[in-house]
């Protein structure tokens, strides 16, 4: 497991005609006066790797807990693989796999024994179970620790075991709540690769704070903030929708005079609002209308006789988009310790 995960396709894998693997309508969850989820609407296409993002207290874990039948919604409906969600629904659980954000297991059990137990409960048996457990232990890097008691496992090993128990029975839909939070960089890379390989076969709902991981493997993302859906779209659309009118030009070295001419020419253009030079000779051109300007920059470059190493429209990172959408917390949203306060009913 050393290869880099394949980049996500430009759009979600499911067409609009495909019925979603998960459908959520008006999902609301109240804990007393606290409003943890507020009328959430969501469609997760079958076979996609769906990132659920949001700051602490946004409602990601609450959403996953309701969709996995571990918590009950206060209002609204949701179906997973065509089954209406609710408490005590074995028919729902037959179709899903789940990894808790803080996976806990029976400390007296061996890692292998746990996978055998969960596999049997999920309907895997006999030779399939033995082969499946062996393969999964190998895939998550726990083959050597398989006969050790889980009580002696590190946090990272427990998380790997958690991934293994969630995937062993090849469920149609997998919910992974912060699946790589306890892993070292190598473990994180391996696990992301493992998740990326599920694309197209298994629907993965992935909740995480690590936006770089989402950019690496997710096709679609939903951003939650204080129980409300802020944005939901294919990742590429989200990033493109927030692209800024900035072009980044990187001239090849030793062309100082020509570059100076180019900078002067760009600065004089009426469609250009700002030109700056950055580290390594990079030129950042801020334009008034990106579509119109993109046709006019390159002729100026050619005219100035500048050879470019690269030319690209500046693309925001998911982190920049996330911060733009969610924004910094307002002072009135912070509690006395500086944490974002959960919303109360009526806020």
């Amino acid at each position: 497991m050393t290869a880099t995960p394949a980049p996500p396709p430009a759009a979600g894998p499911a067409s609009p005609q495909t019925s979603p693997a998960i459908r959520v309508r008006g999902l609301t969850k109240r804990y007393g006066s606290i409003l943890a989820l507020d009328g959430l609407d969501l469609d997760v296409p079958a076979g996609s790797i769906f990132g659920l993002l949001g700051p602490n207290g946004a409602g990601k874990t609450t959403t996953i807990r309701i969709l996995t039948g571990l918590a009950a919604a206060s209002a609204g409906t949701a179906s997973v693989a065509g089954v209406e969600v609710g408490l005590d629904r074995p028919d729902l659980h037959r179709r899903i796999g789940y990894l808790d954000q803080d996976p806990r297991f029976y400390s007296w059990m061996q890692g292998r024994e746990l996978l055998e137990l969960t596999g049997r409960l999920d309907g895997v048996g006999g030779a399939d179970l033995r082969a499946g457990v062996d393969a999964m232990l190998e895939r998550v890097g726990l083959a050597e620790a398989a006969r050790r008691r889980i009580g002696g496992y590190s946090g990272g090993m427990r998380q790997r075991l958690g991934i293994a128990q969630a995937l062993l029975h090849e469920p149609a839909i997998v919910f992974l709540d912060e699946p790589v939070s306890s892993l070292d960089p190598e473990g994180r890379r391996d696990l992301l690769e493992l998740i990326a390989r599920l694309r197209g076969e298994t629907t993965v709902v992935l909740s995480t704070h690590v936006l770089a991981d989402v950019e690496r493997i997710c096709d679609r993302v939903a951003i939650l903030d204080r129980g409300r859906l802020v944005s939901e779209s294919p990742l590429e659309e989200l990033l493109a929708g927030h692209a800024r009118p900035i072009f980044r030009l990187l001239p090849e070295p030793d062309q100082d005079a020509a570059v100076q001419d180019l900078v002067r020419g760009l600065g004089a253009a009426e469609w250009c609002s700002d030109v700056t030079t950055g580290v390594g000779g990079e030129i950042l051109v801020t334009v008034r209308h990106a579509a119109a300007a993109s046709d006019r920059i390159l002729p100026l470059v050619v005219g100035a006789g500048v050879r470019l190493a690269s030319f690209e429209r500046a693309r925001p990172t998911l982190e920049e988009v996330f911060l733009e959408l969610v924004g910094p917390p307002r002072p009135e949203d912070l509690d006395g310790r500086g944490f974002v306060r959960a919303r109360e009913v009526g806020d």
């Binding site: 009950a72 408490l87 999920d122």
Partner: protein
Amino acid sequence: MAGVGILLRKELLEQWRTLRLPLVAVVFGLIGLSSPLLARFTAEIVKAVAGDQFPLNLPPPTVADSVDQLAKNLNQLGALIAILIAASAVAPEKERGTAALILVRPVSRAGFLLAKLIALGVTFAVALVLAFAGWWFYTLVLFEALPIGGVVAAAVLDWLFLMAWVSLTFLASTLTRSTLAAAGLGVTALIVVGLLSIAPPLAAWLPIGLVSVARGLALGLELSDPWKPILGTVVLIAAAVALAWLSFRRQEL
């Protein structure tokens, strides 16, 4: 109920690995072995300690004393052990999150509870078999042979008696996330049922009534109306288990 057999196997393995089953079995075995000894030699020990200055006129011990000694030990220590073991059945699984690990799979909550209850029943059945086997043998050696059929029936009734406390504490364990709170509720139930047993019309229907029935069976005596405490205890167990299920199926994990 799918998965009950798989979960029962896990529960029994857990009882064994966490030493609950071996410890309960050893304690009950010791109760069984020590009861006839205490019945047989307590009078002599007291006489020896009192000496000539306090002449005591104690009647010679009989096989009935052995039966009473076992009943006393099992009813007190056995009930407390039943409460302590049952308190840790569900509450810690909810608190630690292992209940969610199991119940996010195609297993009904009723099946989850049933596997635990059966495992508890097996644990106390094994413990009582050891206790009664040791007790019967030492009673044979020190007193006389008791009818096997009556002793087996008494053991079954003692198991039912312990399962009453197991069930009530099991209910408490499903209602809370704390083992300590569940044990506290179990002890409270023990005290409340004990107080209710003071009222004669009620006592005949409560688990405490099983003690005299078991005593009579072990000694081969004629019994009047033995079915009341059996029926009452079965109803109590069924009600506790039903309430545990009704509560647990609506709980968020």
